[in-house]
């Protein structure tokens, strides 16, 4: 009991120190600003930001697998879709509470990540990418041609979790929790092992790390969080159809993680918000919107290889230091 007390105190102390640093204060300020969004009472804005937050979890889960474990997957939509489907099915057909259904969906995503992960373990680089892509395409086609779980129409008419502002806070808490957990995993011993595997698999193997087990663990964690994102997506839209499996979603995750900055976890949030807000802002331009969107995407990828988050934060920090010196 005593030990826990001390631990708590040291944790709070570390948090206070972190909150006073530049990054800490920026993060807390943005989080505070984010939580104030529903107070404005703007339903449209809240809906967009809920979508962006769901995408952040999804993109962060991809970043976890690709950035830290070095396993580039082109089939992340499979985890997203599986969990969306099972969450919806358990709410609709079994009638369990949505939070139970969400974790059941996440569990199914873990099972599928094992199903995909075990056969694809031997593969590397483009082979792994195509292997995961093939799996997600097969699942997509199975749901498109099959008649189970609603067939082509999918499942619709799930009960709403509440009005959009309630959904906002639910999704926000899930996002914050998922990101903190993923960051904590990455900074822990497990994270170090995964980075070792990413940097040199042979060396990691020679150092006595069971690379197979750890790569599977990475797949499972990533699949679980992608699944949580998918379940939230289904609950937010109150419907799912086979389109959740489309390859486009896998690439959305990759693009969002890359825009924000890979190997950061938090960068995914920036990427997801930029991505969603940008596509929403361009919507009034109708036919030209996606063309402009694609152009901006090319420019960001071409000229910001590190992602947007870290360079911008460094600039800001310079300005911050200047102000503080005065």
């Amino acid at each position: 009991m005593m030990g826990l007390q001390v631990d708590m105190q040291s944790l709070i102390g570390r948090f206070m120190v972190w909150a006073k640093t530049f990054r800490g204060s920026i993060t807390l300020l943005s989080l505070f600003g984010l939580l104030l969004v529903p107070v404005t009472g703007n339903v449209y804005l809240s809906t967009i930001i809920v979508t962006a937050m769901i995408y952040s979890i999804f993109a962060a889960s991809w970043d976890f697998l690709a950035g830290f474990a070095g396993q580039v997957s082109f089939g992340h939509a499979a985890f997203f879709g599986i969990s969306a489907y099972f969450t919806a099915a358990f709410v609709e057909f079994v009638g369990v509470h949505w939070i139970v259904a969400l974790f059941i969906g996440g569990g199914y995503a873990i099972i599928f990540s094992l199903l995909i992960g075990i056969p694809c373990l031997r593969l590397k680089g483009p082979y792994l990418a195509l292997g995961t892509l093939a799996f997600s395409l097969i699942i997509w086609n199975l749901f498109l041609t099959g008649t189970w779980l609603g067939g082509t129409e999918g499942i619709s008419g799930l009960p709403r979790l509440g009005n959009i502002f309630v959904v906002f806070y639910i999704v926000a808490s899930f996002m914050v929790a998922s990101l903190i957990i993923m960051r904590a995993i990455v900074d822990s011993r497990l994270g170090t092992i995964l980075k070792a595997i990413r940097d040199d698999e042979t060396c990691a193997d020679a150092s006595g790390i069971n690379t197979t087990t750890y790569k599977l663990i990475a797949f499972m964690i990533s699949g679980f969080f992608a699944g949580i994102a998918g379940g939230l997506f289904a609950l937010h839209l109150t419907a799912v159809n086979p389109a959740v499996y489309q390859t486009l979603y896998s690439f959305y995750a990759i693009i969002m993680a890359a825009i924000g900055g890979m190997v950061t976890i938090y960068g995914s949030v920036i990427g997801a918000f930029l991505f969603t807000v940008l596509s929403e802002l361009l919507r009034p331009l109708a036919a030209a919107s996606l063309l402009i969107f694609a152009t901006i995407l090319i420019l960001i990828i071409r000229f910001a290889e590190e992602g947007v988050m870290n360079p911008v934060l460094e600039r800001l920090q310079d300005v911050w230091d200047l102000i503080r010196r005065r």
């Binding site: 056969p119 395409l137 097969i138 990759i254 996606l290 063309l291 995407l297």
Partner: protein
Amino acid sequence: MIEEILIYGMVQGSLLALLALGFSLVYGVGGILNLAHGAFYLITAYLIYWILPYFIFIDNYLLRFGITAAISLVIAVVISAVTYLGLMEPLKESHIGIVLITFALAFFFEQFVKFVGDPKTHFIIPFVPGTVTFLGVTFPAQLVALVVGSLILVTLVTLFINRSTIGKSIRAVSQDFEAAQLVGINTNMILMATVMISALLIGFAAVLYAPGNFIRPNMGWRYLLLAFSVTIFGGMGSIPGSIAGSFIMGYATTITDFLISPTFSVIIPIVVILVMLLVRPQGLLGKKELY
């Protein structure tokens, strides 16, 4: 039945060979996973569709189509060179960067076609009219042009890679990038040439296969997936592997089409790929080590 499988398998195989050869070449030489590969099929097909009405004054359709196809191919190859120099070359070092930029590029071309033209489906009149009956099977004569054209092109490219100076440089770069640089090969130019050859090959696939078939803005992805699967099947970067792989895949798809069901033939190649990845990840004739 057997005659049909033989003929349509040949047709599928020739199409796949044109699609996959360039993709495999670019990956083998530069390690570039070109997700915009299918987009070059798309733009060549649409360029033909757009330019064709400008030459309406030429009465002979074959001649009109030939001129249009030549112009479209030149534009497509120039676009490929420009995109290589402007977008792919600076990001060559990072594997994920090249994947992202080529994906964004493919997305851009799809939206460009939708914006400039329209999202509807279009039809290009085949330049070889009529049908041919061979071994008791009647099929469009355009397909004969596809098979013959594909055989000629694949032979030419293989000869070019094996005999010409540029071809030898291409092989040198694919074997050892740094050593090739040391002996004075301009690796950048060689990579650009490879990307241009791949665009030319898939452009020819569009010239030979798009007429007589419907074209729509999102078709690039299907051809990309076909090229990707055949390349993995035959072995990344191996030219004989890609050719053998495309004919095996072509026959496999046709057999599923005829014996099981056409709805399954979409999914069967993917299953074949998956089995291949699990049994022999380096592909039919690929190099032993991966990466």
